[in-house]
Symmetry: C2
Subunit: 343 residues, 2 copies
Amino acid sequence: MKKLRGICLGAGYFSRFQYEAWARIPEVEIVALANRSLDKAREAAALHRIPRAYAWADLAAMLDAEKPDFVDIITPPETHLEVVRLAAARGIAIICQKPIAPTFAECETIVETARRAGVRLMIHENFRWQPWYREMRRLLDAGMLGELFSINIRTRLGDGWQDDAYLARQPFFRTYPRLFCYETGVHFLDTFRYLGGEITSVYTRFQKRNPAILGEDAAQIVCGFASGATAILDASRYNESDAADPRYTFGLVRIDGRKGHVELDLAGKLTLKLLGQPTRLLDYPHTRGGFAGDCVHALQRHFVDCMMSGGPFENTGEDYLKSTALMEACYRSQATNQVVTLP
Amino acid sequence: MKKLRGICLGAGYFSRFQYEAWARIPEVEIVALANRSLDKAREAAALHRIPRAYAWADLAAMLDAEKPDFVDIITPPETHLEVVRLAAARGIAIICQKPIAPTFAECETIVETARRAGVRLMIHENFRWQPWYREMRRLLDAGMLGELFSINIRTRLGDGWQDDAYLARQPFFRTYPRLFCYETGVHFLDTFRYLGGEITSVYTRFQKRNPAILGEDAAQIVCGFASGATAILDASRYNESDAADPRYTFGLVRIDGRKGHVELDLAGKLTLKLLGQPTRLLDYPHTRGGFAGDCVHALQRHFVDCMMSGGPFENTGEDYLKSTALMEACYRSQATNQVVTLP
């Protein structure tokens, strides 16, 4: 079997999870990587046993030389459009990290660029690929909970209260004018859509709790689904949880429906309680390997499956524009202290 | 020592907690009770060892004959104004169950009636007297949590999903056009005010989950404090909790502040986690006796202390008008699907 040839762009904090997951997908060979800093590119290539490392200036030449089947964009949002243009022009399929781009207009341009070139574009939005959300969705699809009433997610990452918050891992977070909802909240907004369908109204209250950073690091968000159900996100990167590893499930989740409710704890334990019946533990697969229940691997596995079968991606660019539009609506709600309705 | 002479009005479901708590306050003697149904009045008098039982028609005569120091009004809201007028005219102090009255105008009339007559009026709003809320307030006052950031309460009573919901305990709930926020939510709104100060904006999403009743039985409410902090109430009487006794703490509570957070579980356990420090269990007194941590007793104890010292009530009528106005604002938010600001 001929392997899919991939190249990766980026060697920052999160890229390790993507390189590590590619190494566990036998149908894929990552043949090269590039990064703004060539030194860091070489380091990452050595670490992840990737044959060749390139400097950013050689991006076009790299694509021409390597002729990959796909490119995995793991660099910050402001770099995405440039890469998408180069890849699309060469007919190379794309996985692109979220946020797609810094502005909604640029997100649209990226999606449109891929569409016009006829290249496949999948957004690397991994939260919905966490195993507990897959299990919740399975329960909902099977009608176990009946009509969906509400989703409540509370996340407390506790990685943002120190004076030097984010410096070690994602230092650029400190200067983002829009931090929490743009970078982290959008994960949950997309997850809400995954679980409950389209959202038609939002109300938000954002706060900056750590004075050492520029953007907001805490938020309360209330979403109204087209179905009439409600989702609440109560979020902070400043305050802490009691989790041994706050970055395993990233929060507590409760879903209520007409027949009962399901709850996720901080260790990945899922319980189901049907009305009038005892609470029971749900037996489902979840693992401590990789990132947050190995969701990066699950997402990349889905990408490869679709590349090989020709089947549709779940995380298309078009679909993620909806999560992005919702995130933008959250900022509009914050600016006006009013409910914002979506078309 | 001369005991305070009290009379009680009402013999419905909740009155048992009030009678039982009076019996444990040595400075008080409940000398008589009255009820719409004289048979039920006699039954309750026998059960609670109260000397005399009266019919509702004899209310004025009862007050003239018994000459009580105070009257404890435990009847439904629509009866309160009549009683307050009779008691105020006779200079008798009043404890009045919440909701004060069915309409805001009538609430104002009640408070004004007592004020003009110069009689003391305390509202029986017992939630803020639950021992865990007292402990949380103590922590906040002591500066343990630093600046208040947010309060999150999730309540799932699970007593409202059956076809015969509320029939056994509080059957009139079934025909209330406004159920959850008017009857139950206002407890939490008052508790938010107790913990976080005045509230200047609300946004709500109400739902009727049980089709067999008239009013709403679930709600999401977001409150903005004057301080900038936020409170979220995610509530349902339809869906269930996992509590052995859902009517002990009535819900899960989390309070976040600049220095850390405190959490309440369904069994009354309070834990404190200061930033960067381990979670620790708080040792504070709470008891399974009486109603919800014996809050009715604590409230009545406060009433008696103030009656004897002449000191101010915490639960004045004037203060509870603010909680009532907030509850009314919630319904306006629901009607318009917009944020409502309060003066």
